[in-house]
């Protein structure tokens, strides 16, 4: 299978006040379309940094990131913004919904950024919320939703835009046990039923038990890449 994302020799060094911190070092990785991949490792191992570089949120210090046949690590701010808008969905640990928008408006936000007409984007967003099992909560603002419901809205926001890949950074870290497992199941359902490609940075064992492939990072290097049947 051709890789959807290819990473070659990826290195990221942060410099602050004359100090250098190597977050990623010479990482090679291929992720195929339709995969559900977990990036695992202890805190500070470079999981989030790898996710950010794959998603075009940051520029690497060295190395290459390819999205199919497009090299994306050299794109400028606006080109990267356009790429993220069209190709990636993001889910963050802290949910990061827009508090003044309803669940439906949050789920439709990326489509609004793309300029999709209102009726169309609301229909798509409603379907995405329903896929995540929270269709009836579409009117509620984030502060009227539980943590699990908010994270579902965040996944629906990423899913509604039908990106080529959803990148999730510690999506279950702020959720209790049952809620976390339910969210993982929802994401697996999207992966299996809708073919959505997921790359999830996590050290949550509940999630790691349920994914097909786990890439282990330590000190910015890949130490193990396990393919696993779910």
């Amino acid at each position: 299978m051709d890789a959807l994302v290819r990473v070659r020799g990826l290195t990221k060094i942060y410099r602050l006040d004359g100090q250098q911190t190597v977050a990623l070092q010479d990482v090679d990785l291929d992720i195929g379309a339709g995969e559900f991949t977990a990036i695992a490792g202890p805190s500070g191992s470079g999981k989030s940094t790898l996710l950010h570089l794959i998603g075009g949120l940051d520029h690497p210090t060295a190395g290459e990131v390819w999205l199919e046949d497009q090299r994306i690590d050299r794109l400028d701010h606006n080109q990267l913004a356009e790429l993220r808008l069209r190709s990636f969905g993001f889910v963050f640990q802290a949910f990061n919904l827009i508090p003044v928008l309803s669940a439906l408006e949050n789920a439709a936000f990326v489509l609004e950024l793309r300029g999709v007409p209102r009726a169309e984007r609301e229909q798509t967003a409603r379907a995405a919320l329903s896929d995540l099992g929270i269709g009836e909560l579409w009117r509620r603002r984030p502060n009227q939703l539980s943590g699990g419901q908010q994270q579902r809205v965040a996944v629906a926001r990423a899913h509604a835009a039908a990106p080529r890949m959803i990148l999730a950074d510690e999506p279950t870290a702020n959720l209790d046990g049952a809620t976390g497992i339910a969210l993982i199941d929802e994401m697996r359902h999207l992966n299996q039923e809708h073919g959505v490609t997921f790359v999830v940075a996590t050290h949550d064992p509940r999630l790691l038990e349920r994914v097909r492939r786990i890439v282990y990072l330590e000190d910015g290097r890949i130490v193990r890449d396990e393919g696993r049947a779910s």
């Binding site: 963050f92 936000f109 950024l113």
Partner: protein, 409 residues
């Protein structure tokens, strides 16, 4: 985007309300200020045009002619008929200014005798403002004269005394004796030292039978500065009817200094508006900047999802514009009805009317605001909204998504 902007500005109600109220107050004050200045400008306009007329007719090149005989419009009765036929409904006044030697019992002085024929109301107002003692000569009075107070002192003449005038005339030198019927305190010292008032027939008898120096046309439909541009087509029409021998001028052309005085009011108000709006703008800057700082994470997420810098910048600008537009709308809603009420007539309280009158303004004034003045006020409010948000918007637009999402307010 506007819905999002509207919701965002009400996240911190007190702070946003404070900024919106500041903008609204400045807009309200500006509308009121424009209305009051409009009242003052129209008051000046009425006073000026009542005094000198809206349009004047002179002999062509009257400013350069030195010979009295060439400076007057002869056959004035025919000219008056043509004026009245061309512009029916116009009140036509005439004046004949005669340079003369004026002599008392012991002293003599060069003087400018003004033979005046004015509408009754203008004449009455002039008397109220400037007559010190006695009265003005009656319209058909051939013997009475009113002297400037300084001229009377020079001639050692008082009410009831006789003075003698010698003047170059169109038919040779004229001479006549007059009884002083009143003393006038002219506002200009030079005028007070040389000026005297006769009836028009008396001045014509003395120097130029059937002639006038100028006609002053009072057009009762022009009572507001805003209508003033309507004088130009009437001037053209009258010029065509009177021919090349005469020149028709609007009051602005005849008295450019008075016109400049009236026009100087608007730049003054623009200066005040700028100061008021800058102060309100500082509040808006504070509100928008704090709002951007508090939402750094949120902007980081929006940028991460694919919003371009320009989009984020526009989001912040939209918030500031919505905030200022809300304040401006409230200011207009409160200010315009007040100006409309005052447009029906108002007097200054606490005895200020007397002060205003002392400066030649009417006691009852009428507030007036032009559409472009409302537009200027709104443009200021929108300008403040844009300028105040430029810097915070730039800050938001240039956020790096990863750093922004790590930000803790």
């Amino acid at each position: 985007m506007l819905v999002l902007a509207w919701r965002n500005i009400w996240r911190h109600r007190t702070r946003s309300l404070g900024a919106a109220v500041a903008v609204g107050f400045v807009v309200w004050m500006s509308v009121l200020y424009f209305g009051l200045v409009g009242a003052m400008r129209d008051g000046m306009y009425v006073t000026l045009t009542d005094t000198v007329g809206h349009v004047q007719v002179h002999i062509r090149e009257y400013r350069d002619v030195r010979d009295f005989r060439q400076s007057v419009i002869t056959g004035a009765a025919d000219v008056r008929v043509r004026i009245e036929q061309t512009l029916p409904g116009t009140e036509v006044a005439a004046a004949l200014e005669v340079p003369a030697l004026l002599s008392g019992e012991d002293r003599a002085r060069g003087a400018l005798l003004a033979g005046m024929e004015q509408p009754a109301a203008v004449r009455e107002e002039f008397a109220t403002k400037y007559l010190k003692t006695g009265r003005l000569p009656a319209p058909e009075d051939l013997d009475g004269i009113a002297l400037g107070t300084a001229l009377a002192r020079t001639l050692q003449a008082d009410v009831g005394d006789t003075v003698y005038a010698f003047a170059p005339g169109t038919d040779g030198t004229g001479a006549s004796a007059y009884t002083v019927v009143g003393l006038v305190r002219f506002p200009e010292p030079s005028q007070d030292a040389r000026g005297a008032i006769l009836s028009l027939p008396a001045a014509q008898d003395l120097a130029a039978p059937g002639a006038v120096s100028r006609f002053e046309l009072h057009l009762p439909q022009f009572r507001r500065t805003l209508d003033d541009s309507g004088l130009l087509p009437l001037r053209e029409q009258l010029q065509a009817a009177l021919g090349e021998r005469m020149i028709v001028e609007t009051w602005r052309e005849s008295y450019p200094a008075l016109s400049d005085l009236e026009r100087s009011l608007r730049p003054l108000i623009i200066v005040f508006l700028t100061i008021f709006f800058v102060l309100a703008g500082l509040l808006v800057v504070n509100t928008i900047y704090l709002s951007v700082i508090e939402r750094t994470r949120e902007f980081g997420v929006i940028i991460a999802m694919g919003a371009r810098r320009g989009r984020v910048t526009r989001m912040v600008l939209a918030e500031s514009l919505v905030l200022c537009a809300t304040g401006a709308a409230a200011g207009l809603l409160l200010g315009l009805p007040l100006v409309a009420r005052m447009a029906r007539g108002f007097s200054y309280p606490f005895g200020w009317s007397e002060i205003v009158e002392a400066y030649g303004m009417p006691a009852v004034m009428y507030a007036s605001i032009a559409p472009e003045e409302i537009a200027i006020t709104l443009a200021f409010a929108i300008g403040v909204g844009l300028l105040a948000a430029l810097w915070p918007a730039r800050v938001a637009g240039r956020l790096a998504p990863v750093e922004a999402m790590r930000f803790v307010a």
